[in-house]
């Protein structure tokens, strides 16, 4: 039966090449947009270089201090000392790194200014993340304890800063904000979209201007706690929240008196959404709702258009519907036939879209729009794309199928 449906769907496609072109163009363009979007979301939230352990990491990046009526709030990253006391102490974590959010700095080659993102990290940063060292090695506890002026730079910065980028640069000096650092390692750069680990230059937290000795709870640092496996993430979260609940309130932070303290410890996606949605579950729902609405609109509007095309295409086949019904096809079977046919056509569009997506993401990756962008079609993206094709096929196929399967047989046979 399925072969019969697919044979028909194929013949229908061949019947009017122009119609088919328009239909497939519409489907594949829509699916391409959705697939590129899926790939981009995977790029943002998936497990990619240099955060290859993201799927078993807990991110601690936001502290919220609330006033007595919980209306006023002070919010942001934490101090190095706070995280050392409460995150580094986590026994359930395999390893914990503390690093700063990136800062902007300048370096000069002659009179040419290079805008840089810099980051202060501990030695564990290089063990929690998985940077590719093209030259040298990361700084270690000893460098940090010594307060060495060392830096790990990216290949991009190396290309911009040094005259002959093909020469090794380990041991050479770089001057950033009028301070000289010795290059200890060169890593492959990461995209800016990996906002918690991205930088052009990495310094030990004991380097100048890191403010790691600041007192108080708030500062410019975040922590990433690595679990032994995914199941261990809950234990980390429970242990950390236990610590936070024991912090006495009320307290005072730079003149702001707080009566409640919230420090979220969450997997990356939730942590990312929480940063935008302020940790409020209602706002999170709105955030997900908006994303869902955009996806539905992207899919729904072309689907409505396709419904019209499908209705006119199926109308041509009234006689066939009449024949099938006359010989015993119930409405449900016909409904299924047209849905299968539509899904088949959608999947052809999906295959074209897959090729177009590969081209589009290759263009994005090579355009420099996002440095080191690594959009891919991996198993997750592929499976989501398949799901999108299926939903799109159903959305655009059910209504015409329902309408056609209910045609009066005698009328249909006259067509």
């Amino acid at each position: 039966m399925l072969t019969n449906y697919i044979k028909i769907a194929w013949k229908v496609l061949l019947r009017h090449p122009f119609y088919t072109f328009i239909t497939l163009f519409g489907i594949s363009l829509t699916l391409t947009v959705l697939m590129v979007l899926t790939s981009f979301l995977d790029h943002l939230f998936g497990t990619h270089y240099p955060e290859l352990k993201r799927d078993r990491s807990i991110y601690i990046q936001m502290m919220t201090q609330l006033d007595s009526v919980r209306n006023g709030r002070s919010q942001g990253p934490m101090s190095f000392k706070f995280l050392t006391k409460y995150a580094k102490a986590l026994k359930s974590a395999e390893r914990v790194t503390i690093c700063s959010m990136f800062n902007t700095s300048n370096a000069y080659v002659g009179s040419q200014k290079i805008d840089l993102n810099t980051k202060f990290t501990d030695a564990d940063f290089w063990k929690v993340t998985d940077f590719d060292f093209l030259e040298g090695k990361p700084y270690n506890e000893q460098n940090i304890a010594n307060g060495d002026y060392v830096a790990v730079i990216t290949d991009d910065f190396k290309r911009q800063y040094f005259d002959n980028p093909s020469d090794p640069v380990i041991g050479k000096d770089v001057e950033i904000e009028n301070i000289h650092y010795k290059v200890i390692g060169v890593v492959k750069g990461s995209p800016i979209t990996r906002i918690l680990t991205h930088a052009d230059v990495y310094f030990p937290y004991t380097a100048p201007k890191s403010n790691y000795q600041n007192t108080g709870m708030r500062g410019n640092y975040i922590a990433i706690a690595l679990a032994g496996d995914k199941r261990g993430m809950k234990a980390i979260n429970d242990e950390f929240q236990g610590f936070i609940q024991r912090i006495p309130v009320p307290g005072d932070q730079d003149g702001f008196k707080y009566y409640a303290l919230v420090v979220k410890s969450m997997p990356y996606l939730e942590s990312f959404v929480g940063a935008f949605a302020d940790g409020d579950s209602g706002l999170k729902s709105i955030f997900y709702g908006v994303i869902g609405f955009i996806m539905l609109m992207l899919m729904g509007l072309p689907a409505i258009n396709l419904v019209n095309v499908n209705v006119s295409r199926i109308l041509e086949r009234a006689s066939e519907i009449g024949i099938r019904k006359a010989f015993g096809a119930p409405i449900r079977t016909l409904l299924w036939q047209f849905i299968v046919e539509n899904i088949f056509i959608t999947f052809i569009g999906g295959a074209i879209a897959l090729v177009l997506t590969l081209i589009a993401i290759s263009l994005i990756n090579n355009s420099g729009w996002i440095a080191h962008a690594d959009l891919t079609i991996n198993v997750t993206v592929f499976l989501v794309s398949l799901g999108i094709c299926l939903i799109f096929g159903l959305l655009s196929g059910v209504l015409p199928a329902l309408r056609m399967s209910k045609l009066n047989i005698a009328e249909a046979l006259k067509a």
Binding site: M1, S319, I323, A326, F327, G328, I331, I409, A410, L413
Partner: protein, 256 residues
């Protein structure tokens, strides 16, 4: 086998109401070969559609094999059509995108799988379709498409499709209407053969000669049944005679 009681069919639009059939009372017994004649627009095809459960009457009752079908839902009607009724149409109504074999298989697609399991259903479907095509002399055209066949061949494919599910009733709506007399005679011979094998056949025709080859002739005029005559057919000589007219009423000026 088929019993129509006080059948009335009215087609309604927002402004017009057309009485297509009125006061039809007709019983067709198993094994009969009946022809229905009448001028264009007299309601022949409408009557055929009602017998074939392709349409519902505005009033009255349709019985198939003693089952009153008026309350049947779509699924039950579809099942009954699939198992009991085969259709042959004047304009063949073959699906041009499917091969001859695939066209003939259509009624079997909507049958439940047999006890031998789903894999063998496809194979047995093919087997039955091939047998039906052999019966109408088209075993050498199985892979062809309808567009590659003559009118007579198309109608034979349509007959194969009608008989492949071994229905007890075959409804033929002007099966020879689009064919020349030689082709028409061939198709008629096949129908007569099917009838001798036990099928009940109801045929709408404009052709008196073809009608005379059947057992019984129903005449319609302006939506009403105006004649019901028993005929004697002698298949050996191809001659048919009206033996005992059982005329209900003759129109004063039939336009047949």
């Amino acid at each position: 086998m088929i019993k129509l009681t006080n059948i009335e069919k009215v087609y309604r639009t927002s402004s017009i109401e057309t009485l297509a059939l009125t006061n039809i009372n007709l019983t067709i017994n198993a094994g009969e070969f009946i022809s229905i004649m009448g001028p264009s627009g007299c309601g022949k095809s409408t009557l055929m559609n009602l017998m074939g459960l392709l349409d519902a009457p505005s009033a009255g009752q349709v019985e198939i094999d003693g089952r009153i079908v008026m309350q049947y839902r779509d699924k039950e009607l579809a099942l009954l059509r699939n198992q009991q009724i085969g259709f042959i149409f004047q304009s063949f109504h073959l699906i041009n995108d499917l091969s001859v074999l695939d066209n003939v298989e259509i009624p079997l697609l909507y049958r439940k799988g047999d006890a031998t399991g789903p894999r063998s259903v496809g194979a047995s479907r093919r087997q039955l379709a091939q047998e039906a095509l052999e019966k109408v002399g088209l075993s050498n055209r199985m892979k062809h498409f309808p567009g590659q066949l003559s009118g007579g061949q198309k109608q034979r494919v349509a007959i194969a499709r009608a008989i492949v599910g071994r229905p007890s009733i075959i409804l033929a709506d002007e099966p020879t209407g689009n064919l020349d007399s030689a082709m028409g005679n061939e198709i008629m011979a096949i129908l007569q053969q099917l009838n001798t094998e036990g099928s009940t056949i109801v045929m709408v025709t404009h052709d008196e000669t073809m009608a005379k080859k059947t057992h019984r002739l129903i005449r319609l005029f302006d939506g009403a049944m105006v004649g019901d005559s028993k005929l004697i057919s002698d298949l050996r000589f191809g001659i048919s005679d009206v033996s005992a007219g059982n005329v209900i009423s003759e129109p004063s000026n039939p336009k047949s």
